[in-house]
């Protein structure tokens, strides 16, 4: 995967977040403060602007710029958390001009580690970690088993979606939903839902034939 691939991934995320904005905000209204969709929409719109204004020349550069922009523009918990995830992924990729699925899988692990370090959440706390951790595991497993990138991203996306749905019965232990105690059960966590969109966008990039894409991933 080259730099272009990662730019398209960001574009896919921007479009997916825009399309899912109201849904994410509704999920957040149920157990939070009704702003997750609008915040991420604002953040990824800013990412698109930043990438257009200062196009990075490595995959890692794309992710670091995306992460820094989210930290600068989003606010709330999701800005620093997603920002750190992308920055740590980008730093894990270093200066490589081309990235293998195995390298991306370990970068995703690095992003997950960053989120855990900053937010202190573990799996089962009803947060984005509940989608991101299974996604990282699924991607690594598929790559280890000799799967191609497309299969690895599809497995990661499916695991993230499953992880997000599995947050429904959980009682939140981190973030604003935790204030609700037992009443947070019965609702999907908005952060896990947006993580599923972001990983799902990776699958969409790998499977789509973009006329703007110079090289197939």
């Amino acid at each position: 995967m080259d730099t272009r691939f990662f730019v398209i991934w960001m574009e896919e995320i921007t479009a997916a977040v825009r399309a899912g904005r109201d849904h994410l905000t509704r999920l957040d209204a149920a157990i939070g403060d009704a702003d997750h969709g609008t915040n991420l929409d604002r953040g990824f719109a800013a990412v698109a602007e930043a990438l257009a204004a200062r196009p990075p020349d490595t995959p890692g550069g794309v992710l670091v710029l995306a992460g820094s922009t989210l930290i600068r523009k989003v606010g709330g918990a999701s800005g620093p958390l997603y920002g750190t995830a992308f920055r740590d992924m980008g730093k894990a990729l270093g200066d490589a001009a081309d990235v293998s699925a195995a390298e991306l899988a370990s970068a995703l692990e690095a992003g997950l580690a960053g989120v855990r370090r900053l937010g202190g959440a573990e799996e089962g706390d009803k947060t984005m970690v509940d989608a991101l951790a299974p996604a990282a595991r699924a991607m690594a497993r598929t790559v280890d088993a000799g799967g191609d990138p497309e299969e690895a991203f599809a497995a990661a996306a499916a695991a993230a979606e499953e992880g997000a749905k599995a947050t429904v019965p959980l009682v939140a232990r981190k973030g604003r939903a935790s204030y609700l105690g037992a009443r947070s059960a019965g609702h999907e966590d908005p952060g896990a839902a947006s993580t599923a969109l972001i990983v799902g966008a990776l699958r969409a990039v790998a499977t789509r034939r973009s006329p703007r894409s110079e090289s197939r991933p």
């Binding site: 905000t25 209204a29 157990i31 939070g32 403060d33 009704a34 702003d35 609008t38 915040n39 604002r42 930290i71 600068r72 523009k73 989003v74 606010g75 709330g76 918990a77 999701s78 800005g79 620093p80 958390l81 900053l118 937010g119 232990r173 981190k174 973030g175 604003r176 935790s178 204030y179 609700l180 105690g181 009443r183």
Partner: protein, 330 residues
């Protein structure tokens, strides 16, 4: 939804335009969303910076001025400010004696202020933090985000601000700020949810005879839903929750706070019951605030915040203050 706004996207900016026009004692950086004291930075004085989501006015911008905050950073509605904004405020109020961040305990506020503190440190500004977590409706636990910060933010900003104004060093300002928080407790009740401009409808639905107990300040639902009842009983529920956590006694600073949509008349009815409750416990409402101080947009309801006073805290509370929302003695 009927709101006095121009555009959903410009609510915060338009608010700041109004603040700038109404309060010449403030310097408002509209582009970067920072409200400064006009004379900041004051050489040799510890700077006080707070911030948080918009929608809680007058918190925090209404408390910028002599004897209180040096700068406030309003985020988007119910969303914490971003690190760049906080760093700019921090360096902008640094008079060489360091800067105190007053941070309400919400994951987003904590993370963004932490990042800003690290970045400010890189720029050579000494930053310390007082974390406000006074809401007894949230049971504290090592495994959760902990108690929310609500009404005690006003007390911390006033009392720590008075000490900073008197020229105390950062360590002392931090100490008194933490002491105020440790001695403060809050509990909130909602009769209705609030409507954020972006969502356009109430964040939760309450039936005609339903209320939410233990609400926060972001339109999030509380811990339990209950049947509506008379003010005296609602006050008893709130005060019992506070008293169970930190028994009320002696001279007490008390705030009865509207959530943004409650008539002042009803807040006085609530205050009468609060004062009677304190008397019953052998405590006195030695210092008092009644009004909209920490709001949740157009929510109907009230919160009570108490702080067990000491001689030092009383003296600092009484010290002169001149801000848009609190002013006396000057």
């Amino acid at each position: 939804m009927k709101k006095l706004i121009n555009d959903v996207g410009s609510v915060v900016t338009d608010t700041l335009r109004g603040v700038a026009a109404a309060h010449p004692s403030l310097r408002v950086d509209i582009e970067n969303k920072i409200i400064f004291r006009r004379d900041a930075p004051r050489p040799g004085k510890v700077g006080l910076v707070s911030g948080g989501g918009s929608g809680h006015e007058p918190l925090h911008g209404g408390y910028v001025g002599y004897g209180m905050l040096d700068a406030a950073c309003p985020g988007e509605i119910f969303t914490s400010p971003v690190p760049d904004q906080i760093v700019r405020a921090t360096t902008g109020v640094n008079g060489g004696a360091g800067v105190l961040h007053v941070v309400k305990n919400y994951t987003g506020d904590v993370l963004n202020f932490e990042m800003a503190a690290e970045l400010s440190d890189d720029e050579g500004v000494e930053v310390a933090r007082v974390l406000v977590d006074d809401d007894v409706a949230v049971r504290d636990s090592l495994y959760t985000a902990g108690r929310r910060g609500t009404g005690a933010a006003v007390f911390v900003e006033k009392i720590a601000g008075a000490l900073a104004e008197a020229g105390a060093p950062l360590t002392e300002v931090v100490r008194v700020g933490r002491e105020v928080n440790d001695r403060s407790r809050s509990f909130g009740v909602a009769l209705s949810a609030c409507t954020t401009p972006a969502a356009g409808r109430p964040t939760f639905e309450l039936g005609e005879r339903e209320i939410e107990l233990g609400i926060g300040i972001h339109g999030e639902p509380g811990r339990t839903r209950a049947a509506h009842r008379e003010a005296r009983e609602l006050v008893r529920i709130a005060m019992d929750a506070i008293d169970d956590d930190l028994p009320l006694s002696g001279e007490t600073l008390v705030m009865v706070n509207g959530m943004g949509g409650t008539p002042l008349m009803e807040l006085y009815i609530v205050f009468a019951e609060v004062a009677a409750y304190l008397k019953e416990k052998g405590a006195t409402a030695a210092r008092r605030l009644v009004g909209n101080h920490v709001t949740s947009l157009d929510m109907l309801g009230f919160s009570v915040t108490t702080c067990a006073l000491t001689d030092e805290l009383t003296r600092l509370w009484d010290a002169p203050v001149e801000t848009p929302a609190l002013r006396w003695g000057r």
